[in-house]
Symmetry: C2
Subunit: 81 residues, 2 copies
DNA sequence: TTGAAATATACGCATTATCGTATATATCCA
DNA sequence: TGGATATATACGATAATGCGTATATTTCAA
C-alpha cells in the first residue's frame, strides 16, 4: 500500500484514511477546516468537482503535504498510516 | 527548491513549471486535458476554487503523481525540473 | 437488539467554475 | 521593432459547489 494520489477518488480515500488514523469524525475534521461535515463527506467520496481549496485545507488540518513525483518512477513509499 | 505542495497556489506554480519543462504552451496542455486554455490559466494562477479534477487531469497529462508526506517531515525532495 | 454516533443526502440560495467563442495583453524571437 | 505566439480576461449560459439547516441512513458498541 502506498500513499500515492492520481485522482480525486484517491485523494478522498487518502483523506479518509488519515482522518480515521487520527480518530476524528468528519464533523471534527470539518470544524478544523471551517467547512461543513457534508463537504468533507463529498471530498472523501472523491467528488471530482470539489474545490482544490477544500482538499488542501484538509491536508493542512491533517498536517500533511504533497510531494510531486514522476509517474511510474517506481518510488513506492510505504504508507505511514 | 522542492516540489512540495500545500496550497492551490503552490499547485499552480508546480503545473506551470512542469508544463514549461516540457516546452508546452497552455493551449497544448489544455488540449491534452480536454479543457480550455483559459482553464489552465486559472489553474496555474492558483485559483482556489479550481476543480480538483482539473488539477489531477493536469498531473496526468504531465505524467506526474502525488505522494503524501507528513508535514515538516523534513523530507526535502529536490526538484526534478 | 437498541440506541447513539457517524455519515450520506436534501433544499433554497449565492457564488463561481467551465464552456464556447473572442479578444485584449503580454511575451519573445527573427 | 514588428509580428507571431502565448497568456490573461470577457460575456452569457449552464452546472455544481458550499453554506445554513435538517434529516435520512448507516455503522457500531453496550
Amino acid at each position: 500500500m502506498t500513499d500515492l494520489i492520481r485522482s480525486p477518488r484517491m485523494a478522498g480515500d487518502l483523506v479518509r484514511k488519515a482522518r480515521k488514523a487520527r480518530g476524528w469524525s468528519q464533523t471534527e475534521l470539518a470544524s478544523r477546516m471551517n467547512v461543513r461535515q457534508a463537504t468533507v463527506s463529498k471530498l472523501e467520496a472523491g467528488e471530482p468537482a470539489t474545490r482544490m481549496e477544500v482538499f488542501f485545507d484538509a491536508l493542512t488540518a491533517l498536517q500533511l503535504e504533497l510531494v510531486v513525483s514522476k509517474r511510474g518512477s517506481g518510488a513506492d513509499f510505504a504508507s505511514f498510516f
